[in-house]
């Protein structure tokens, strides 16, 4: 039973990280119907920035909590900047082109960012310091769940709530929903669509950066390639839940997290990635719109 619980909680942690990344995918897709392949790279850059800031601060001798906060904030700022720039360079000029063009451009951007980090930094795995202290009150449960996991779960929950509030109740959220329904119509009622798209990219990048910092301190090391796999998996999660739907992305992420966790725990760990992809294929065959997605009617 303990093993089951451990796997369950492991899946939950995994799922919440995927959820943080998947949100960016699903928001961008909801608004401009583009798979932002470079999203995983934004997450990786977030983690790298955090690592660099932490290293610099450690040498300056700062205490861990302050360091974590500062690194987190800088990582978020940089990820947002990258997300914004990527959108301006690689996607904005292609807004009226066929969707295949934008997709290929996104793949190119992903490749560029990966190799940019590879060349400017290193191809080795860098150790990422675990900054979250062990909480004392967690002591009795330490064999099932670590305090890092608790922090991850708490952060994810807070981010989700904030995001939901933003989309449901703020003016920007309203504009986002309008844009995702009909871009031309949104423009006609006086919404600055370009600004909305930029904000979407920025918010998506911010959540990805938070996910990046969290997972890096959870796993303990990063390299330039972590973004790609995590990005693909988060995308799978977004599709599982029904792409374009925010609760769907969260649900899909948890389902994927549990699937992977149980499959690796009970079947075999060699085929971890295979399970994720098989799951995706099965979902797309039997329920192409995803778990929570509405099936879209193709309008002529």
């Amino acid at each position: 039973m303990d093993y089951f619980l451990e796997l369950f909680l492991g899946g939950l942690t995994r799922g919440s990280i995927y959820a943080l990344i998947a949100l960016g995918y699903t928001m961008v897709y909801g608004i401009i119907e583009l798979i932002n392949f470079a999203h995983g790279e934004i997450y990786m850059i977030g983690a790298f920035t955090a690592l660099i800031v932490i290293s610099v601060l450690t040498l300056m001798g700062m205490n861990t909590i302050a360091m974590l906060v500062i690194a987190g904030v800088i990582a978020v700022v940089y990820s947002c900047a990258y997300g914004y720039t990527v959108e301006k360079i690689a996607y904005k000029p292609l807004r009226n082109s066929p969707r295949l063009s934008a997709l290929i451009s996104a793949i190119g951007m992903s490749m560029f960012l990966q190799n940019y980090v590879l060349l400017a930094q290193t191809s080795d795995f860098l150790p990422f310091p675990s900054l979250i202290p062990d909480f004392e009150f967690m002591e009795p449960y330490a064999h099932i769940i670590g305090s890092t996991e608790i922090v991850i779960l708490a952060t994810t929950t807070v981010v989700m709530v904030l995001l939901t509030v933003m989309i449901k109740f703020t003016k920007m959220g309203k504009a986002m929903r309008a844009t995702s329904q009909d871009k031309t119509m949104a423009m006609l009622v006086g919404i600055n669509v370009n600004q909305v798209i930029s904000v979407t990219f920025i918010v998506g990048s911010a959540t990805a950066a938070i996910g990046g910092v969290l997972i890096a301190s959870h796993v303990g090391m990063i390299n330039f390639y972590v973004g790609f796999i995590a990005g693909i998996k988060a995308f799978v999660a977004a599709v599982l839940g029904g792409i374009g739907s925010i609760p769907g992305a969260v649900l899909g992420s948890f389902v994927l997290g549990w699937t992977e966790s149980f499959a690796t725990g009970y079947v075999s760990s060699d085929y971890e990635d295979v399970f994720a992809f098989l799951f995706l294929v099965l979902i797309l065959i039997f329920r192409p719109a995803g778990i929570l997605g509405r099936s879209e009617k193709h309008k002529l």
Binding site: E33, I35, F48, T49, L51, I52, V53, S55, V56, T58, L59, I74, Y78, A81, Y82, T85, I89, A90, P93, L94, S97, P98, R99, L100, S101, A102, L103, I104, S105, I107, G108, M109, M111, F112, L113, Q114, N115, V117, L119, A120, T122, L126, P127, P129, I232, V236, V239, Y271, D273, V274, A276, F277, L278, L280, V281, L284, I285, P288, H298, L300
Partner: protein, 396 residues
């Protein structure tokens, strides 16, 4: 703009950390480079953007512009292209005798990519289905030959059609579940398939010998005579030339056939295409199967060339390189794809010093090509239907 990029690249470019030894390296000179570089590039970018906007305005205003690009006009001119073709033919024939074995090997590699590019061109360029798992079929072909040779001692010439057929079967098997999916979903699912195949090859030790791969695959023999390494390199080069010509011939014929037209129609508009009575499922499956056949055959040649296969040769980046070839050359254009493959594979070989920047350049290339020249370097000429007596020509 330049300041923005300096800010943007500051942590990654300027600071390099070594957390193990706790060393921080400050590289301020990189920052200066980024500043100057982005300052210049921003001007180039703005200039190109302006040109692009001018171009779209011209088309919108209905001004007469040359619809046939220069490269195609040159190719259309018989006086020019016949001698060029002959010269190219002679060059390819004598190539292995005037250049070293190393050059021949590189050329063979490039030709394998030509074949892969032409195969993917069917799927992406003609049928408009973005397939990111193309390398899976390549792997199937390579492993088919490797395993058949290892277990049963089958030769290259028997394995070649088997590899092609297996590729086609896999294409159909993998194509079946994705029939209903549109562009982006398709891309991700095919990518998933590619990864699944690679992971299986890596982990299923009893079947594929895991990450260590299979070595000592026999080289192709000439009518039962075993050739020396040097001779067989040249021999393989000619085989590749032959196969490429065969591919070009088949793809060219396919393009103008009923099925080729159906692919193009499918690419342009699925709904209208179905309304015209084209069987969507069948058309898509044939595209997948035919595309995969070439990859399977290219895989067999690859295995014969390197005499060694392991899963590391079949990563997702291989698929993306092939995609780059198709995009650079021009989707749907045969001559473009050939040019694209030769440029993309040969340039990094001869510019060894910049080899590590290869993938960076490829990424940039994809973005820039998509924005400024979505048709590729030698774009395909779209069929234009001219009304008798009407002034304007409609795109069919």
């Amino acid at each position: 703009m330049s300041a923005w990029f300096m800010f943007l690249t500051f942590p990654i470019m300027v600071i390099r950390v070594n957390p193990v030894e706790r060393i921080i390296e400050w590289r301020w000179n990189n920052m200066i480079l980024v500043g100057i570089g982005s300052f210049i590039l921003s001007f180039v970018w703005n200039y190109l953007m302006k040109r692009k906007e001018l171009g779209t305005k011209k088309t919108e205003a209905g001004e007469k512009i040359d619809t046939i690009p220069l490269a195609q006009r040159v190719l259309g001119e018989k006086r020019i292209y016949v001698p060029v073709l002959i010269a190219a033919g002679i060059f390819t024939i004598v190539f292995p005798f005037i250049f070293s074995m190393y050059q021949t090997t590189i050329m063979t590699t490039a030709l394998i990519y030509v074949m892969l590019g032409l195969g993917l061109n069917i799927v992406v360029g003609l049928a408009g289905l973005l397939d990111l798992g193309y390398v899976a079929f390549y792997a199937v072909g390579a492993y088919a030959y490797a395993l058949l040779n290892y277990h049963f001692g089958l030769g290259f010439w028997i394995a070649l059609p088997i590899g092609g057929a297996l590729g086609a079967i896999f294409g159909i098997v993998l194509g079946f579940p994705v029939l209903r999916l549109r562009g982006d979903y398709l891309a991700i699912v095919t990518l998933g398939f590619g990864e699944i195949i690679r992971i299986i090859l890596e982990n299923w030790n009893e079947f594929s010998f895991g990450p260590s791969g299979i070595a000592n695959i026999s080289r192709p023999s000439l009518f039962g005579i075993d050739l020396s390494v040097h001779d067989s390199t040249i021999y393989l080069y000619y085989i590749m030339i032959g196969l490429c010509l065969f591919t070009v011939f088949v793809v060219n014929r396919l393009q103008d056939s009923r099925i080729g037209r159906a692919w193009i129609a499918l690419r342009e508009d699925e709904v209208a295409c179905q309304a015209m009575g084209i069987d969507k499922a069948k058309t898509k499956l044939t595209a997948f199967a035919l595309g995969a056949t070439w990859a399977g055959m290219a895989g067999v040649v690859f295995a014969a060339k390197t005499t060694f296969v392991n899963p590391a040769s079949f990563t997702i980046w291989e698929s993306i390189i092939v995609l780059c070839i198709v995009v650079l050359g021009g989707m749907g254009s045969i001559i473009g794809v050939i040019a694209g493959a030769l440029v993309l594979i040969l340039t990094p070989e001869y510019l060894r010093a910049f080899a590590e920047y290869r993938m960076l350049a490829f990424g940039t290339l994809l973005v820039v090509m998509m924005i400024f020249r979505p048709g590729g370097i030698i774009p395909n000429v779209r069929r234009v239907y001219k009304f008798e007596g009407a002034k304007s020509a409609n795109k069919s």
